[in-house]
Symmetry: C2
Subunit: 406 residues, 2 copies
Amino acid sequence: MSYVRCLRGIASGVEYPAGIPMNLDPVDGRPVEMVLDLERLRRAWPDASWYRPGRNDLWRFGALLALDAEDPGDARFVVSLGEGATPLLELSGEPAVRGTGLRLLLKDDSRNPSGSFKDRGMAMVASQARRLGLRRLAVPTQGNAGDSLVRYALAGDLDVVVAMPPDTPAPIREAVASAARLHPGRVHLELAGPTIREAGARLKERWLPQGWFSVATFQEPGWRIEGKKTLGLELAEPSPGETRWHVPDAVIYPTGGGTGVLGMWKAWNELQALGLLDARRPRLYCVQSQATRPLVDAFERGATDTTPVVAGATVAVGLNVPGGVGHARVLEIIRASGGAAVAVAEADIEAQLTRARAAHALDIGTEGAACFAALPQLLEQGWLRRGERVVIVNTGSLAKYRPVAA
Amino acid sequence: MSYVRCLRGIASGVEYPAGIPMNLDPVDGRPVEMVLDLERLRRAWPDASWYRPGRNDLWRFGALLALDAEDPGDARFVVSLGEGATPLLELSGEPAVRGTGLRLLLKDDSRNPSGSFKDRGMAMVASQARRLGLRRLAVPTQGNAGDSLVRYALAGDLDVVVAMPPDTPAPIREAVASAARLHPGRVHLELAGPTIREAGARLKERWLPQGWFSVATFQEPGWRIEGKKTLGLELAEPSPGETRWHVPDAVIYPTGGGTGVLGMWKAWNELQALGLLDARRPRLYCVQSQATRPLVDAFERGATDTTPVVAGATVAVGLNVPGGVGHARVLEIIRASGGAAVAVAEADIEAQLTRARAAHALDIGTEGAACFAALPQLLEQGWLRRGERVVIVNTGSLAKYRPVAA
């Protein structure tokens, strides 16, 4: 029993029928998202009984997701490897916030099945593809999205082609190559570069015309947003012993394409529509590398969209997104939240990678390290205030990029 | 508020005061365990209200643990990196059980913070050490236990020395070495071999006389058993939407020293004493490698204890335990459960490592692969029966042993 009422262009507002395998909004080439009938959901599940906190994965948000893993009609489509429900950890010893009165927490999404937050989106992608009867999926990737999709495709009995630049981090390239060797005809690897753009072009040229369905960022009809929505839901759900939903004061989020920003925002808006949150939102601080900072430039300029830049070189591979069809919406959300987009130096990311990993004994990846690198400027500029509860999102494990102990 | 009534020798039955930093039972050199006052617990927490299913780590078992992370008096001692609450995943596509009517599940403990089930024990070790004011811990290891303890020691502001054979898997050796470089004077690495026995001897000779406290398997007073107990609790806790606690029909468990076996059994006994389980227990199938099979030999001989063997060479490093002070109790538990100890060939472990990882798109380690390798003989010999719910425990991530993608 799905409560998806329709698909809707996030910029055009034009509505399309739910359940059609569309890509970008034909009106303006912007993303579409899934619109839920929250009134009907509310009537069907009084007292937010769609929420099943005892369940230890992202499917505990039940009917508030586009597929309900515990609905008999939906369950057969759902592909799960135990994604989501990642820990929210206190970083009480963090020296950067000592004496500031801040309460700093880490949402550790490196603890997902494939080691990154991409699993939230790809679990939903594989499940939705199965529901629509799509058997062949194509994705261009800088790394984590490709590895993740391969796992969910295999688990969901789907075929997949992954296109990536040849300089994709070796552990991920090897994981996909090894899956392709083990599952000939089911998993395909295309190396095309130098950037994800050329990888995408290769898919468009060779694979999409053969009927493979693109699940590149925002190319699928809101599925990855719907999966990333669970990050926002998890940041808002009642703590143990509480009954009240509530959000942190600020979220520091490493931002590439921005699916997670759209997803979190959608989560909080839906919770408000359901009467579970008020109008307050966390201030979103989107962190980019100085090497590739389209969002930061646009934010500082006061622009409503990014101007595509030439991608630089950053160890935070997932942030190396020179432009994107979702960036206008990301900027709108940052501003609506009262937050900011900030850039950090590569040297600071590397320094935090060593320091923060050692200080907290956690598997903080390069994108997570970029958020730690942003703390000093956020504090100096007065963005973070005494007594606030601030969450850093660690989007992935370092082991995906470099050979390190898990 | 702790419900630990005393420590007790698991073989001698002799009781010792709770909260003393003892090692093995002085009466017989066997392990001691923590004994809880379950009657008092039951009265204090009616309707099993110590259980907090909304909490996403092993501390959700509250007062049923030796420390309650939500008790104000205990909380300051608790060291947590978000351990436990690992997923229990359906392996519906497993060809080995096709047509058998079995429901096969994987308890994926590779999803712990350091990538292995050792985190359950070491979270408890670090927390108990802090409670008793012990600041310097020593552990000999074949790998995962050492890496795990280093992380919890750092997080809990304790000092640690880890002794390991020089041929410990490189990712783990490197992780500990790198922590030692980053935290000089706080983390120490001793290379001593060729086996864990010589590593232990080195600690005894150089470190324990200086006041370092040994937390080698069973050397601490039941702490690691208490941590591993949470594995048994998680296997028995109500599924989402249920209220009833219940156990699987069988658990296939890769067994080295056997702390996990003692821990799970203790969990189920305590749940029965609390009126939450009946007398039924899962049949325990302890899996070892043909290379080092003391439990299997003793089980087949009908012996009440293992005869220490010479350690062989196995890729399932965690199973390479030639003998142990807890083995007599492991044999007793296997028999009481109606289960068995079985050995698998090295070639079969390697074959399953490739096949099972690819088939299920999960990070199955060598010890988990050994359990898959045991399935054919368990089925052929009639140990597993139609309609049963059978759990394989995947104790760790392959990335801890070999450079693979996460």
